[in-house]
Amino acid sequence: MLARIGASSFDALLESVPATLRSRAELKLSPALDERSLLRHFSAAVAENGTVLSGPSFLGAGAYHHFIPAAVDALASRGEFMTAYTPYQAEISQGTLQMIFEFQTLVCQLTGMEVANASLYDGASAVAEAALMAARVTRRTRLCVSAGLHPHWREVLRTYTEGVGLALETLPLDASGRTDCAKVPADAAAVIVQSPNFLGAIEDLGAAAKAAHAAGALAISATAEALSLALLRSPGELGCDIACGEAQSFGLPLSFGGPYAGFLATREKHVRQLPGRLIGETVDTEGQRAFVMTLTTREQHIRREKATSNICTNQGLCALRVTIWLALIGKRGIRRLAEINVAQSTYARRAFARAKLALPYAAPVFNEFVVTVPGLARKLERLGAQGVQPGVPLARYGAPLGEDRLLVCTTEMNTRAEIDALVQELAA
């Protein structure tokens, strides 16, 4: 090949790389591994990881262990989906395009909104993008953020909004664990409320929306546990202007926190302020229905520094898994799964109460709640030694949330026996 292009050597092709910059030594890396050795290396490296499969797990806090039907992996592994690019060339990307159109529709149905984008990185950046969007719509700079927003999501929100001069203010939680929206300032850009919130409480999104609108602000709902959308009145129905969150519950493995899939939906009137990809319906030259990326003048590759966001990828493969999962579980199945999650948490809460452990918040919950456990640290250690992951200690997230408080999540993946054993150990 070198001869055919008239190059005397490979180095002759690098004429524009100054000799001073050429690496003289090889990269210092471990020796290459063949497939057998590679799988052995990784299997051995992660062998000591305790997983949600290796023992009972009651971990939630923004990442949820749910059932994934076998067909999700089988279909999402198809190379035509997995190895395709962003669907710029629509004629040979109709599979991805129709799938994302379906994803957008499903997100609208779940959130009660009119338009949804083709997904964002994760729930945390979705909240950040929603806040930036609200600031553009209202031309205001104060963001009122519920203290019930996932603490990591709040940190991401701060990182994203600091540079463009937005200020974060906190709306406190009341004694029941819900956000107190009484004091929304008159110049707020947005009221941001997570429901169910980080402590598990199902929020009064209708009240949050009213408070936001009274101040001329947008109401943003954030959802970390997307399965709750199948059962709870939707953010759209309750008057929110933007509904965003994390869709990991719908068929995405926990994978140490990623890749997940953020979603962002809103009213039609705000569509031109949406960040990210949007897929729209059109026709081809023969009049057949087809799908294409649209309203791209919002985006960085056209508008550059004036774009609504710098986002370039959506989470195509994750959106695919979500779409397949929702199609397989279906209308009745998703309602049923959501009801099972409520049944599990109801059972667990009653068992904790019977065992005289305090449930500090009275607000209704979906599948996650806080329990006060005297001597928590010691008990966590003991349960850990038994291979149980009993929940997330709130002490990890700082003082105001309490020393002895444990955030417990029960999903359809937990059994009654596991819950009974957990209650017994924590009460002991």
Partner: protein, 495 residues
Amino acid sequence: MSTAGRTGLVFHEPLLFESSRPGRRGVPIDDPDVPPVDAARELGPELVRDDIPDFPELAELDVVRHFTRLSQWNYGIDSGFFPLGSCTMKYNPKVNESVARLPGIAAVHPASDESRLQGVLALASELETVLAEISGLDRVTLQPAAGAQGEFVGVRMITAYHRARGDAKRTRVLIPDTAHGTNPASAALNGLEVVEVKSGADGVVHPEALAALADERTAALMLTNPNTLGLFETHVEKLAEVVHAAGGLVYLDGANMNALLGIAKPGHMGVDVMHFNLHKTFSTPHGGGGPGSGPVAVRNILAPYLPTPVIRGEGGRYRLDEDFPHSIGRVHAWYGNAGIWLRALAYIRTLGAAGLAEVSARAILNANYILDSLRDVYDVPHQKRVMHECVLTDRRQNEHGVTTADIAKRLMDYGYHPPTIYFPLVVAGALMIEPTECESQETLDGFIEAMRAIAREAETEPGLVTGAPERPIVRRLDEVRAARKPRLRWTRERA
């Protein structure tokens, strides 16, 4: 015509919502072993919604056929040659999928106690060390979920660095006219002003042009090297000197790192901070537009500003350290797209140092081979050797009424994915071709032959090209209609 493309049996497939039939069910879900509850009574009727109207009701086989058929309308790297410039559409080895699916990775909850995360943290730490070595920089974070988020993080850190030095007036980012659109968008997301740097007639940035713009307001230069014309920025050391002398820092957009593995290290070029696109250089699947992974590497001067948490390894134990007072803060709920960055580590471990060096060498050879084999029929903006990608234009074909878009669509009929088109913006009618190292000479020859055939058709039968494509499931789309009356979801009323 002799082509790689054939029309196989593909199926019409309605939307999920159109195939839905009341009462049909996909996977069964058993009763729980806890007592059932009436959710409306338990939570209060005011909190509970009705059934979701028009939500899909399908059997498992319906769903399997639906997505199988949709997949057949797609073109992936697994389908054929995918020379999409600056996107590095290389083969995604299947063993990396097996790695990501190991239960010790896929079933790890991110909020697990650190004692249970030692394995995955050790692998993360290993990858950070490897990426530091490849970049010639000191520290790495795996947290950014994509290249654009990596850019945001890098620029945010640069801002934090200047502010910590009491140098708050640095509000401008210098960006060459060949840059990806994400660069200016990431600067704007940080509240900074974008100043465009014109590249020279030879396609690269000249120190004099940069010196005229660099001053006490300069926060950074954002450079892509090799640039989007496929040219190595020959003056990069001098460019870095100019920016550093003005008090600014140098950011490298690592989108084109596939040209540099084992050949040159950004750290030696004067780069202070860069992002990697693991889904480009390190073979993780593009997935139809994500998920990606955009680790950021920095020189020690920027290390205090890394996003929190950072991984610390001490005495063989690893922990996620959040006590990091100068950090720009978190950018991801957890520690980035672990399922993706672990695939990248698997790729690097498969190739080793010699393998990675061969990646770039072959990628560069393949790009020059294509360029040399087509420059007699397509116009070329610059006569130099290229790195990992090359740019052609449609100037000659324009004489026959054929444009870059037409050539791209006609390539589909020949069985190839089109190159990146109309980018970089500085070249009119650009066709930007990145073959990657993975393709054989036979595959390249087939593509070259198709490009030459299209050039002939443009002269003799231009209607074949302007009317393309004819083989995909749909013909050319009406994009204006899509944007004028946007239909962004299915509804029963519109059906």
